[in-house]
Symmetry: C2
């Protein structure tokens, strides 16, 4: 097991990464403040890990809530069901919500924990690669609005993240690849040598070699922890973690939540962001081509689906990175270095989106 | 106009108290960050003040949302309507939610502002005495759950509180008195000389003499600001602001939200808290009698309605001040000094509630 500390003063917490952690009562006990725990999970994860986690929590008063699976259910209504369960269980301010699952479960359970009695403890036990490297770390919680992804949410840091790498063995290949999209993102925005390492180790990662996976998760968590420590509430540099996400959110919103996995949309979105970086003269074409190759190597999509440019632009305008009417985009200056920019002609973005979607149609 | 500063580092803000402030474009402009403002109000306040506020905001892009009036509508669903309006208006992170109304409007609009894009600016323009002295200050936002008051919410400080004392002229007598309950509370928990002043000036307050009202509002805001500065998120001493509220929330929940005004329930709840303080030997009976007299002087109820003791105890157990299975109560050591206690025999509380409700039944 390795432990990465996220240093946020009174809201600091550990990220534990290792095999078999869901069985470690000592690690859970070190994090959980009171005696009441609501385990929130979904119909896919419950049969695999719920009983095990409940056994590990034998000293606690545990209730379970099993939600339907998938991004389509990441709504205010489903968050309301978690809140209902907390009220009906008579949970007090010293209770803990434990999210057992992927990013959707973590985002919703975290949002409910943030709102219940104005904030109770929240423990992340991510079971997908995407959640372990990205969504479980950093305190962003949210649900979707029909018109835009993650528009309703809260910053609510977990009390600990417990990433049991054994859980990756039950992941579908598609989910594994979706997680690799966020892994590649960290290299693209912050760490060129890590991108080299990823290219060398991509087949080991796709074959789920435990050491390679553990090393990738550790590096991503280290990188994310440093960014979150600098800018917890995304007033500035934290936005670079959203490379490709503005394009991705438009894809996810327009295709219907859950048709494209978040990581798949991020993969296509990163290629768009890199290509737009080239179009605005920020990035050299060879770097954009290399990023595309790495994404392809991971078996991820490198183009958006067939969509109307006007609808795509409209969906992008609901992005949270809009300020004073300008959409700020995360672009690349080179591989390993991101730039946040609203300093591009809007017509150029419209033209770029139209041409990117055009290519798909042909 | 007087201005009281709430000192919370980067989240500090002014409370402006005075006549005619809703017409002061300069004061609104000093607070509002961007160009987009969603004014949230209700069907009672809209015909009185909405046009005026919109005129004052003539330099901004303003949208309005008029909600139904009353505590019964303070739900997650209604907060969802505010969020819908923000999404449909295409509001970005630099937008502002302006709450124009009483505590219900402020609590809900504040909660929606806390959740929209994980938190946007929120301006309080309270139009009731209760909101001006209490609910608009301090950053507590919430909606009710059918089983408990304010169980779903967030700490989200406003960017400013603009208390136009002229708006109190359109308040019903009942609403005015409900506000006085919270005014009396401040004296009871923190400021014995203020209680003396209240007794002397109660008829002036009930007659809405502007100077008396302004002085009362100013004193309450000063007292609340000091408490919130010490303990923003109610880990400790802030709980004293809830004197009578645990009993009050049980009354409000069981009678159906809105049957008793919040201030009315707080009045009866404070009498119960004082009587229970006497029962546990903390407070002398003469002080409890005096508090009851002041509450009566304000024309407020001093007893709970007819309710079943078991249901009352059950409703109290959903209070947010439960920790490790113990209900912490705000009690009085003397007039002007509160004590937070879970150090009483539970049977004694059950006995006390049964006997307090019994007296009503006879």
């Amino acid at each position: 097991m390795v432990t990465i500390e996220v240093g946020l003063g009174g809201r600091s917490y550990p990220i534990h990464v290792g095999a078999g952690l869901l069985d470690r009562a000592d690690i859970l006990a070190a994090a959980i403040p009171g005696r009441d725990v609501l385990v929130v999970t979904n119909t896919v994860v419950a049969p695999l890990y719920l009983e095990r986690v409940c056994n590990t929590l034998s000293g606690y008063r545990v209730r379970q809530l099993v939600l339907p699976d998938g991004e389509a259910h990441k709504t205010l209504e489903t968050a309301g069901r978690i809140l209902d369960a907390l009220v009906q269980g008579g949970y007090a301010r010293d209770a803990t919500v434990l999210a057992l699952g992927g990013g959707v479960v973590g985002d919703m359970a975290g949002f409910a924990a943030a709102c219940y009695q104005r904030g109770i403890a929240f423990l992340q036990a991510p079971t997908t690669l995407l959640a372990q490297v990205d969504s479980a770390v950093g305190g962003k919680t949210a649900v979707n609005h029909p018109q835009g992804k993650n528009l309703i949410g809260a910053f609510h840091q977990p009390i600990a993240v417990i990433a049991d790498t054994d859980t990756l063995n039950t992941l579908s290949d598609r989910e594994l690849r979706a997680g690799l999209a966020e892994v590649i993102k960290y290299g693209a925005i912050l760490d060129a040598p890590f991108l080299d390492w990823l290219q060398e180790n991509m087949s080991a990662l796709l074959a789920r070699e435990p050491q390679a996976l553990a090393q990738a998760i550790r590096r991503c968590c280290e990188l994310k922890a440093r960014v979150v420590e600098q800018d917890e509430k995304e007033h500035g540099c934290r936005a670079i973690l959203n490379l490709g996400h503005t394009f991705a959110h438009a894809i996810e919103t327009l295709c219907g939540y859950g048709q494209w996995l978040h990581g798949e949309a991020v993969a296509a979105g990163m290629v768009m962001a890199a290509d737009f970086s080239v179009a605005t003269g920020l990035l050299d074409p060879a770097s954009a081509r290399r990023l595309r190759e790495i994404i392809q190597q991971a078996g991820l999509p490198v183009s958006p689906p067939v969509l109307l440019p006007a609808a795509f632009m409209q969906a992008m305008s609901h992005d949270k990175k809009v300020l004073a009417g300008r959409l700020r985009l995360v672009l690349l200056r080179k591989l390993g270095e991101a730039a946040i920019s609203d300093d591009y002609p809007s017509e150029e973005l419209a033209r770029f989106v139209a041409s990117a979607l055009q290519e798909v149609n042909h």
